[in-house]
Amino acid sequence: MNVELEEVRPESGPTAGSPRAVRWIAGGLAVAVLAFVALLATRQPAATRIADSPLVGRLAPEISGSAVDGRAVRLSGLRGRYVVLNFFATWCVPCQREHPELRDFADAADGKAEVVAVIFDDDPARVREFFERRGGDWPVLDDPGGKVALDYGVRGPPESFLIAPDGVVVSRIVGEVTTEGLTALVARAESNFAST
């Protein structure tokens, strides 16, 4: 009986179908799966507030038109200053929460940076009333067809873009902004801008 067993299962190396070959294949598969997991796990986590955007590093799409208070706005006319382009809606609670932060940022920026808002799926009359009640004197553009939001790839309010003095998009911020966060972003962009 023992002699027959040795003939069926020789012990010389991982031949096809031997347990050792199966082990090698299973081990190889496990390594491949782990490499796949490592690849995905080491990508930038999406939970960060600074989100990826194909626009970052490119010239910001032009925006021009009349703000809800009647003043003319042209994004390229603001070159030389940082611009925080903020997409918002009055019905969006995070937008309501970030409003005082934007107001403080605009006050503290003292001409070095400007805030420009774009209405995302909301009524301009309601927006005017919102600004009267909560303050803020930056230009607010209506976007009735959603074209501006599309040009910037906005998925839902609030979303903001930091645009450098040369008109290039520096960052996309998904969710509420804070005065502190925006100030830090501008400071970081300034040091990068100065070093280039």
Binding site: A32, V93, G156
Partner: protein
């Protein structure tokens, strides 16, 4: 040639001819610009919706995407150029069908590799299996080792799947699973509003619950959940939720309106109701619900 081999050759020829006919015939019908726009929109994700294409959704962002596609179709741009234009704005996540490039190519490549490797492993295993007449005695330690190895591989696969689900995909801040499945509160709220406008209260309620899973103190989700619960006949539970919404954001107008109506119509407290309704009108005088609030306020003042 044996009959069996002849049958396989005939089957292969029939399959080849059928495939070629389908491909050639499918490409012969000219596509109208409208049909082309519709086809392209069906492959683009609605930017603000949950699991819908730009062709299916009536959200404003989807309408903007459709208009952009149509404009580019009319300009004579190719399918690839139109898709690329949208990818240049939203990223590759805007495409409903993953492309065979970069990391996204793994979506297509991994299943193929797994099938090929598994097939090869099976073939090797069968080749090496004891034939009829062989003495197929296998020692117990070998079986135990194989079972342990299988357990390790399964555990690694389950762990890998969990880690991939938690790390991959297009997501917004605060979200924990893959993007098109779990959306951020802003997108969930947009979808919930749309559902409410369509009269689908059950789905709206489910969406508000998902917002609250991510942010337990979200005023809008709390207030609207409270209102829907009240409409289902559970006034006290609804009122508790609306009170929580007010505590989270005293300036959230809709919560004041809901509380005022509940106090007036369900709890017969017109004085308290009038106070809430006045507060609502102070906060949102131009709301779409302002006329309704004024009527309820007049009713409450008449009853005090």
């Amino acid at each position: 040639m044996s009959v069996r081999r002849l049958a396989w050759v005939a089957l292969g020829m029939v399959a080849t001819v059928t495939f070629a006919f389908a491909v050639l015939n499918g490409g012969s019908t000219p596509e109208t610009p409208a049909a082309r726009s519709e086809r392209l929109a069906a492959g683009i994700r609605c930017p603000t919706c949950q699991g819908l294409s730009a062709a299916e959704s009536d959200a404003k962002a989807a309408s903007a995407v459709r208009a952009e596609i149509t404009r580019r179709v009319v300009e004579g741009q190719s399918d690839a150029e139109i898709r690329q234009a949208l990818v240049d704005r939203y990223g590759r996540g805007i495409l409903l069908t993953p492309e065979g490039q970069g990391v996204a190519a793994l979506v297509w490549a991994v299943p193929v590799v797994v099938v090929v490797v598994a097939g090869a492993a099976l073939a090797l295993r069968l080749r090496g299996a004891p034939k009829v007449g062989d003495v197929g005695v296998r020692s117990r330690p070998t079986l135990v080792k194989r079972a342990a190895l299988a357990g390790v591989v399964i555990a690694a696969a389950v762990g890998a799947g969990t880690v991939v689900a938690r790390t991959a995909g297009e997501r917004l801040p605060g979200e924990s699973a893959t993007g098109s499945v779990d959306l951020g509160p802003a997108q969930l709220l947009i979808e919930a509003r749309r559902r409410l406008e369509q009269g689908d209260a059950v789905e709206a309620l489910r969406l508000y619950d998902r917002v609250l899973e991510q942010d337990r103190a979200h005023p809008e989700a709390l207030a609207y959940r409270g209102w829907l619960v009240r409409l289902a006949g559970q006034t006290q539970e609804g009122l508790d939720l609306v009170d929580t919404a007010i505590a989270a954001d005293p300036e959230y107008a809709d919560a004041r309106l809901f509380k005022g109506v509940m106090l007036l119509e369900d709890l017969n407290q017109p004085a308290a109701a009038a106070e809430e309704l006045r507060r609502f009108l102070d906060l949102a005088p131009e709301s779409e619900f302002a006329a309704q609030a004024r009527a309820s306020l007049a009713q409450a003042e008449a009853a005090t």
